[in-house]
């Protein structure tokens, strides 16, 4: 994990004149600066600007419409559904994959047998192509020929139409999301666990924390604070960015019940080519990301550092 520290100015090197140093620095940084402006700053400004227009690809002219797009968004049922679905999806995937990742990490850490095998097994989904694995999950979830429902049938249960019914589709996608991201969180927690000094556990033992549960709440959990916060942010941001599984498996259906933010933006902007309207959606998407980052920074500020 990368810890961010920024000294105000980098160390000046004595053997290079200040003017020459600045010139060289500019020269070295110039390509990056130009590309940052071209591919990040300018498009970002453009997206905010386009959000105030009725620009559509293929039409020559466009009008400045003020906040009309945002007003329309407010009453757009698809967009509201999409925001709601994204919130539900994230509210399931982020916490479950966090605690699953933590649980697996704790189990692996305390068990000496097969550590590397288990780490590999749980991490494998992170390194796999999501579009491909989503296709496999589609087969697993198939209502009639899928192994999951076949297994349920063996014990006398009738499985739901996982991806095909509007009441279960979001949960099915969430299962895939959890499966895909838990291993990533596990690896981050494993790194956090190895950083905890062993003597803290001995000290806790002396203080009367005899059971594993006591030690967990007295030492492990507080010491993992920064890691946990980091995992929360990453998990939520990744969950909000869900797209691949939706595009591959459901196209937002059935009946818009798996319509999520990025998919709606993709549809409006790149399929219906309503660039202005989709830009307004993008601004809201960005606002969500900014708010979450802001919350993380605020919490990090307050976070007590134990080491």
């Amino acid at each position: 994990m990368v810890e961010a520290t920024y000294p105000a100015t980098p160390l000046a090197l004595p053997d290079l004149g200040a003017a020459r140093q600045a010139r060289t620095a500019w020269l070295l940084a110039l390509p990056a600066v130009i590309l940052m402006i071209a591919f990040i700053l300018a498009p970002l400004a453009a997206v905010v600007f386009l959000g105030f227009t009725d620009f559509e690809l293929g039409y020559g002219s466009f009008r400045f419409v003020g906040f009309e797009n945002y007003a329309e968004l407010f009453f757009d049922r698809t967009f509201r559904q999409s925001l709601w679905n994204t919130a539900i999806y994230s509210a399931i995937v982020a916490p479950v994959s966090l605690f699953l990742g933590l649980g697996i990490a704790l189990l692996i850490e305390s068990e000496k047998i097969g550590q590397s095998f288990f780490r590999t097994a749980y991490f494998l989904p992170v390194a796999s192509l999501l579009v491909a694995m989503a296709t496999v999950w589609q087969y697993l979830f198939h209502p009639t020929i899928g192994p999951i429902n076949a297994a349920l049938q063996l014990v006398g249960l009738t499985g739901p139409n996982w991806l095909g019914s509007s009441s279960t589709v979001l949960y099915s996608l969430a299962i895939i999301g959890i499966w895909q991201s838990a291993g990533f969180n596990m690896v981050l927690f494993l790194a956090g666990l190895t950083a905890i000094p062993r003597d803290l556990y001995a000290a806790a033992n002396v203080d009367g924390a005899k059971s594993g549960l006591d030690r967990f709440f007295l030492v492990t959990w507080p010491m993992l604070g920064p890691t946990t916060l980091f995992v929360i942010t990453i998990s939520v941001i990744n969950a909000v960015k869900v797209f691949e599984t939706v595009k591959t498996l459901t196209e937002g259906g059935p009946n818009k019940s798996s319509e999520v933010l990025l998919f709606t933006i993709y549809q409006e902007g790149f399929v219906y080519l309503r660039v202005g309207y989709a830009s307004a959606m993008t601004v809201i998407f960005l606002a969500v990301l900014v708010v979450m980052m802001f919350i993380q920074y605020r919490l990090l500020d307050r976070e007590v550092h134990y080491t």
Partner: protein, 279 residues
């Protein structure tokens, strides 16, 4: 107390849980392998038996290779990932060096720009970029697939952290030897930065091999399709219910990265955790 010697109830429970979990996490791979070897009729009748009764591996793989240009897809994936990585390193390393080791006034402003860039995913800049690329008539090309990722603020950020930790004496000595700043970057910094570059390479390749969003936007034919996009075309061509061929295709496309991961696990996990900052 020696934890290896005692086999308590708690430990058995722990191992049992781990095994059960691992089984659930690996199940999709097992079914992918098994279904890739089954014929249509067997897929429809016995979905729970793992070993195919009649091996259809050859037929399914033949279909996967012929219905779409599978080798072309893999080739595109490799070309795009390599080009992206090449430009990212080429552009981010000198910039990070300047920010870490040289004194110039714009450094703070640039740091702010980098931090802003970290926050902005491709999904946010995709619309204007698409409009621009459309006007420049560069859609459906390697240029369109690679250009927006040629700058990685995340790369700059990662290398910056790494370069700051490098001793100044190293650079000082190189300067006394009369090396130019470019020479220092190429012959002192880069050779010493391999751990960071490897970690970044793994992160970058995993991210771009798997990316669907941007290729989906700028590519509309098979010539320039990357693996994830190609798989979408394959699904459309198969109408999604020839699961045998579909699983064979997924297997082919998933395999390169999974093999790379299995052979260089430690590096992968390091790379991904080190670069865990960006999702």
């Amino acid at each position: 107390m020696n934890p290896q010697a005692t086999f308590t109830f708690g430990r058995a429970l722990r191992l049992g849980l781990l095994c059960l979990g691992a089984l659930m996490f690996l199940a999709p791979y097992v079914f992918m392998l098994s279904t890739a070897g089954k014929g249509q009729s067997e897929i429809f009748t016995s979905s729970l038996s793992l070993i195919p009764q009649h091996s259809f591996f050859v037929q399914n793989f033949m279909k996967a290779f012929t219905r779409v240009n599978m080798l072309g897809l893999l080739f595109n994936g490799v070309v795009v990932c390599c080009l992206i990585l090449f430009f990212q390193v080429l552009i981010a390393v000198p910039c990070a060096y300047a920010l870490a080791k040289l004194n110039f006034r714009a450094a703070r402003l640039m740091m702010a720009l980098v931090m802003l860039g970290l926050l902005v995913p491709i999904h946010a800049t995709a619309l204007p970029l698409y409009v621009a690329f459309n006007n420049l008539a560069v859609l459906n090309s390697y240029t369109a697939l690679v250009a927006p990722f040629s700058i990685s603020v995340f790369g700059i950020f990662l290398f910056l952290q790494f370069f700051r930790a490098m001793p100044d004496d190293l650079i000082h000595a190189a300067r006394l030897d009369g090396m130019s700043e470019m020479g220092i970057v190429a012959r002192v910094i880069v050779p010493n930065a391999w751990p960071a570059i490897t970690a970044f390479a793994i992160f970058s390749v995993v991210a771009h091999w798997n990316d669907l969003y941007w290729p989906l936007i700028v590519v509309s034919n098979q010539t320039y399709a990357t693996p994830p996009l190609g798989l979408l075309y394959f699904r459309a061509a198969e109408a999604g219910d020839d699961y045998g061929a579909l699983m064979a295709a997924t297997l082919i496309i998933t395999l390169p990265l999974v093999l790379a991961f299995l052979f260089a696990q430690k590096r992968f996990v390091e790379g991904i955790t080190m670069t865990g900052l960006k999702g």
